[in-house]
Subunit: 417 residues, 2 copies
């Protein structure tokens, strides 16, 4: 199969949003062995969108995945574009009208009249339901080309792909389908190029499994993907490669697959029957946000204090004025008292604290931007580490600090269990 | 001018990296009035890349910006592709060989032999120097089409665009150059389709300015973009349209351009010389994170309490046990005491609180997932609102709750100043 991903939306051509859908779909399609040959973006323009479909067909695509342009406004042309291109009619689906109406009724609102546009279905198309929004997707086949019309917002598109599109693609692949199995190794504390240097001979010339590193703010993931007639065979191909990689860099591998830092920390806390709390200064609530992104985190997360001002560090966390005077808020001493204070005030077994200078302002010769202290207070005492990130903007420094705090907690939990 | 951005790289089609170059270039080109009509991505494949150039030319592009494929490896084909397409030769530039050699010498290394490939220049092309890497860029014109060959790494491509490409484009535009001006109107509390229904007759058939709505989690932005020979004239075209829109839906417009909810709240607090704090339950620190994403937020944000557990609501914020027993943590009464408590404990003028059920678990018939109470405590007293979001997952409910909390604070600040 030969796929082209066609995004429709003037906002992409204006650079207002990035085409993250193309990246996401490319990753997913690679996993099931569908080759992506082109990405295209066109604006909300009928003629140019039809022309783009013709171009995709002319250059041999037999899977065309369109994203965007399914909304309720006059700009949203994807339904009309595809219907016109394949020469089929658009028909109003009363079932979808009722679904959209119920979407509004639940919210105590009346359905705006123009939302009916979203209930127009291309003749003979399979409707892809969208429980997260009002725009349903569609699937149709004509002249050997498989068309998928998916909504633009990633929060709607991604689950629709996972829950409905992937199954159709596998059905279309039929007997030729290989099963793909992947394993992610999650690494912290080792940069991408240092990692690559250590395992270069292992990954060189690998074609099955393929080995791909992904780096993001201090974290590196290695994806091992193998294809075989059965899932068991695919996994069997991955295992020796994983073992070889672990022999080299195993101490940096903290988790696999979906075990992010916050998931791993939660697993370890739950296994120990312990709780934790946060005391955040420069991260301003980011660690708490990451932890509580996970449903069920209340089993081990009591809460936290965002002590952005020194007054809050003193009043709520009990940091001593003498410490702030002698060492300042960005200091190992303050980080220790913040963590100890959070543990005490929130009544938990563990607490992590972060205090630092995220920039762009606030730095000095002595305490430059990127200087961050992270403390972990636990049953076995309080530890603190100094970090100095020389590169990166405010967002990057804050994210690295939050991730490092979680990683520090994980290390303590693993060492003291 | 009619531009197409053509990225060359199999790693893009595999989804290993996102095509951020296309977004960046689109933003820059929009600023100088160069219309981008298509983005395309092809792999490291000679025939398909040549074909993509032909497609771009066929559909009328007179500016083609290629990114990627200028490296030293055999995969890097962009030079050969363009030379072949325009029918010109590639010649070794000794000057560039020497530059690349010095790049290595400076680092105490010897130049790998394959780096010479990067010194091949298309006959008649202008070389674009690359002080941040070894791959120079190129600019050439043939048959009225302007080709730019830029390196793939954003850290090399972006400065090359800013320092060299933009000046060439402006030179090419010459007297025909139009200036584009944009204004964003930021809307809260009015859905995209309801908004469009109210202003459809205003935006219908608009071509200059163009009007485009964008929706994201409870927020809607309207972009007004006008082009004219001067910036003042472009702005003058926008003004009457903005006025007409404000007459219809002005009460939902809380800010313009970059004034996000957190920016607007910060502006109003600073103007009033007041401070605020947060008390977050189901949002778990998200509001604090959003506020402190902004540098300088310490001028008005003292901090907050993430009171995920009821014990923390009682111990740190002083929520009464009787309130929790009678009404539960997800109640108007608890939200009020949380906000009042945060204001008192953190010593601020204002505090916002959020308590609700973000799901997927934890809901009941009486208190379903999506039920959220938001209170604002301020100099003029404490107000509380109940929200019931029937759709959306945990992430969406949390984000809507955080944005609604900020919007509630903005409304109070605006009404009481």
């Amino acid at each position: 199969m030969r796929a082209e991903i066609l995004a429709v939306g003037t906002e992409l051509l204006m650079g207002q949003i990035a085409n993250t859908n193309a990246q996401y779909l490319s990753q997913r399609l690679a996993e099931i062995g569908v080759g992506v040959y082109h990405h295209t973006v066109v604006g909300d323009n009928f003629e140019r969108a039809v022309q783009a479909l013709q171009t995709a067909k002319d250059r041999g695509a037999n899977v065309v995945i369109l994203t965007g342009g399914l909304g309720p406004t006059e700009d949203d042309l994807t339904r009309e574009v595809v219907a016109s291109f394949v020469g089929r009619s658009l028909n109003l689906s009363n079932e979808i009208v009722e679904y959209i109406r119920s979407f509004y009724t639940y919210r105590g609102l009346e359905m705006p009249q123009n939302n009916k546009q979203q209930a127009m279905v291309i003749e003979g198309a399979e409707v892809l339901h969208n429980p997260r929004g009002t725009a349903p997707g569609m699937y149709l086949e004509q002249d050997g080309v498989h068309y998928f019309l998916l909504p633009g917002p990633p929060t709607e598109m991604r689950p629709m792909y996972e829950e409905q599109v992937q199954a159709i693609l596998k059905r279309v692949q039929g007997a030729a389908a290989l099963v793909f199995a992947s394993r992610f190794l999650r690494i912290f504390g080792l940069g991408e190029s240092a990692m690559e240097e250590q395992i270069r001979d292992i990954i060189q010339n690998q074609s099955n499994p393929t080995v791909a590193p992904y780096a993001s703010e201090g974290e590196v993931k290695i994806r091992l993907t193998a294809s075989a007639p059965t899932e068991a065979e695919a996994h069997a191909l991955i295992l020796p490669l994983e073992t070889a990689i672990r022999e080299r860099i195993g101490r940096f591998i903290y988790g696999i697959d979906d075990e992010s830092l916050e998931v791993k920390a939660g697993q370890l806390l739950q296994a120990a029957g312990q709780t934790f709390a946060t005391a955040e200064s420069c991260t301003g609530g980011l660690i708490g946000k990451m932890i509580t992104d996970l449903p069920g985190s209340s089993a081990y997360f009591n809460g936290g204090v965002v002590s952005y001002h020194n007054e809050v560090k003193q009043r709520v966390l009990g940091v001593e004025e003498a410490v702030l005077k002698a060492h300042g808020a960005v200091s190992a001493e303050c980080a220790v008292q913040m963590a100890d204070g959070a543990k005490r005030v929130l009544g938990t077994d563990w607490a992590v604290s972060v205090t630092g200078i995220a920039g762009p302002g606030g730095g000095s010769e002595e305490k430059p931007v990127g200087l961050v202290y992270i403390a972990v207070s636990g049953p076995g005492g309080t530890t603190v580490n100094q970090h100095q990130w020389k590169h990166g903007d405010r967002t990057q420094i804050r994210l690295r600090a939050a991730k490092t705090a979680l990683y520090s907690l994980i290390q303590r939990l693993q060492n003291e269990r």
